[in-house]
Symmetry: C2
Amino acid sequence: MGGVIDERSARVLLSIWFESADTTVVARVRARGALDVVNRIVSGRRSVADKRGTAGRIAEITMDEAAARAQAVYDAATRIGARYVIPGDAEWPTQLDDLGDRAPLGLWVAGAGDLRLLALRSISVVGARSATSYGEGLARELGAHLAEQGWLTVSGGAFGIDAAAHRGSLIADGATACVLAGGVDVPYPRSHADLMARIRECGVLVSETPLGGAAMRHRFLTRNRIIAALSRATVMVEAALRSGSRTTAKEAAALRRVVMAFPGPVTSPMSAGCHALIRDQGAHLVTSPREVLAFVTGELLDIPAGDAPSLAWREQRVLDAVPVRRPAPLSSIAQLAGLGTREAMAGLGMLDALGYVERRGEGWVRSSAGDGGMLAG
Amino acid sequence: MGGVIDERSARVLLSIWFESADTTVVARVRARGALDVVNRIVSGRRSVADKRGTAGRIAEITMDEAAARAQAVYDAATRIGARYVIPGDAEWPTQLDDLGDRAPLGLWVAGAGDLRLLALRSISVVGARSATSYGEGLARELGAHLAEQGWLTVSGGAFGIDAAAHRGSLIADGATACVLAGGVDVPYPRSHADLMARIRECGVLVSETPLGGAAMRHRFLTRNRIIAALSRATVMVEAALRSGSRTTAKEAAALRRVVMAFPGPVTSPMSAGCHALIRDQGAHLVTSPREVLAFVTGELLDIPAGDAPSLAWREQRVLDAVPVRRPAPLSSIAQLAGLGTREAMAGLGMLDALGYVERRGEGWVRSSAGDGGMLAG
């Protein structure tokens, strides 16, 4: 890197100067590039808002000093076998761009696997640290099944569900990714140092936190968005009502990833978070690792999870196009539904038989009892 | 009743001559009255289709004999304290009319309670005969809670979940209704004779099967539609994948009753039926008796159970009115949704922010990624 700062070095510096998820910084980096942002900061023309005075301090260093700092950080990373992956790199998981201004500036990655390739077929497994043997058994079985089917298990390396999922994957000789809140060189919890070492051998350790960074509380919360964004789906295995893993599930839902949860006994507080996710947030109830994968690969997409479970795709689309009050003619319903009139008519016939809609005069309208009901499959 | 046949006697006769759920007979009774149907049969002008030759045999009796038969049946019923409740009676639960041509011709009722009044606030509790202690505990707790809150527990008197629900209700000094497959004078299973006697004291025994009728297999299936139709909601507590109680849940769903299920460990085959009901049929997951009642009384109606859990009523209605392909103007969306333009615009704004819809030109259209997604709550 020499004395010259490139985009990667600039992102390294910004990731050190600013805490993760500083949307103002990320927004400017996305608009103008990290190099420009660093230049403005170092030259004192910084327009990056900084509530913590960090920019005030770093503004006192010169560009040469900044370049040297970046180089030193990168040299240290290289010595421990870590790399800094940024947008545009072949290894960058582009699905992280779904986070918009909340995307990480880059990710420190350590391990044998290629993060982007692995994450293409990945599922995040989340849950409680104080899991029960029931939950840990499920998580281990899930990690193993995903591995056997060639899928990456993404989790956070914590006690309980996380570790069980990672271990299940490792036992089945699969790859697993651990997204850490601290630096990839800071095993947390410490007693998982061996687990982390094995994950690094067979998969990847990932973090946006600079090397050496401690696993601090606020970093767990921001870390969760990366777990959610990396994968196509997030599965909650076991969690209490107030569990950090619920933030991951919420992130996943907001990112339109598939969200699933395993039920458990209603008498177990460690399943209450899963039940709430299914009941209140519309997460899919899953009962086996096979179902988890089937949901994600779409094999089960014909199983609707909504209010009108027995409605096939066509009927649902037609129903959406039928007015609530004033009847509409077949032609306009077909157009609204994006279907041919024959298709739409077939759908209306079925919906009529099921009691969802009724003919009125020349048109169709929803049945008065046709809202929020549920039909037999 | 004397030698004259009235509507009630006619229905008694038809219920003896024809097995329950003979939709042809019921359709004719609904159209012309039971008396007319009996008259035609007895006079030989019968137009009631009969595949089993029953009408052929009964056609040989005279009207006097028919009247005497009805009187004898009714006298026998009176002796054991049973009554035959038919549509039009003050005690007839009019919600059974939702069954249309599948409605029972009448119901034999024995017990201290008034069936219609009790059933106004009733919930059906169904599940496996070979329930676990987990399921039986939940059913008992549910029956007791419903009783404490002044609700009737409806069930089928079987081993396992049924009996536990009835008992929970009785323990809490509440009323419970047992809908039998055989006659109300034929306790089934026999070992539940004491339970049935207690139910009769504090609630009602109900059946469409004539007195003395055995609890035969096909009668259980047809009986289930009455359990489903009597109540506002059906709760499955514990059931295997192939359980008779699933037919009750399906009936309830088809009748647009609220359908709920308790989850359990995924490792328990006795919870697999509940999980399938939630996963595949859109039944509401419930975790406590309090939640069951809250769902039915509408306290939890703001908790949506569908694909778009965070959407309020207004947003859901507006979303349904937004076309999938060709953009529609605000005015037509508002009309379709049955809302004022201001309301509709507010909904569109929210849906836009959530990523469900997007403005295109002068109109609005669903976002391409806006189907089947799930949002954070």
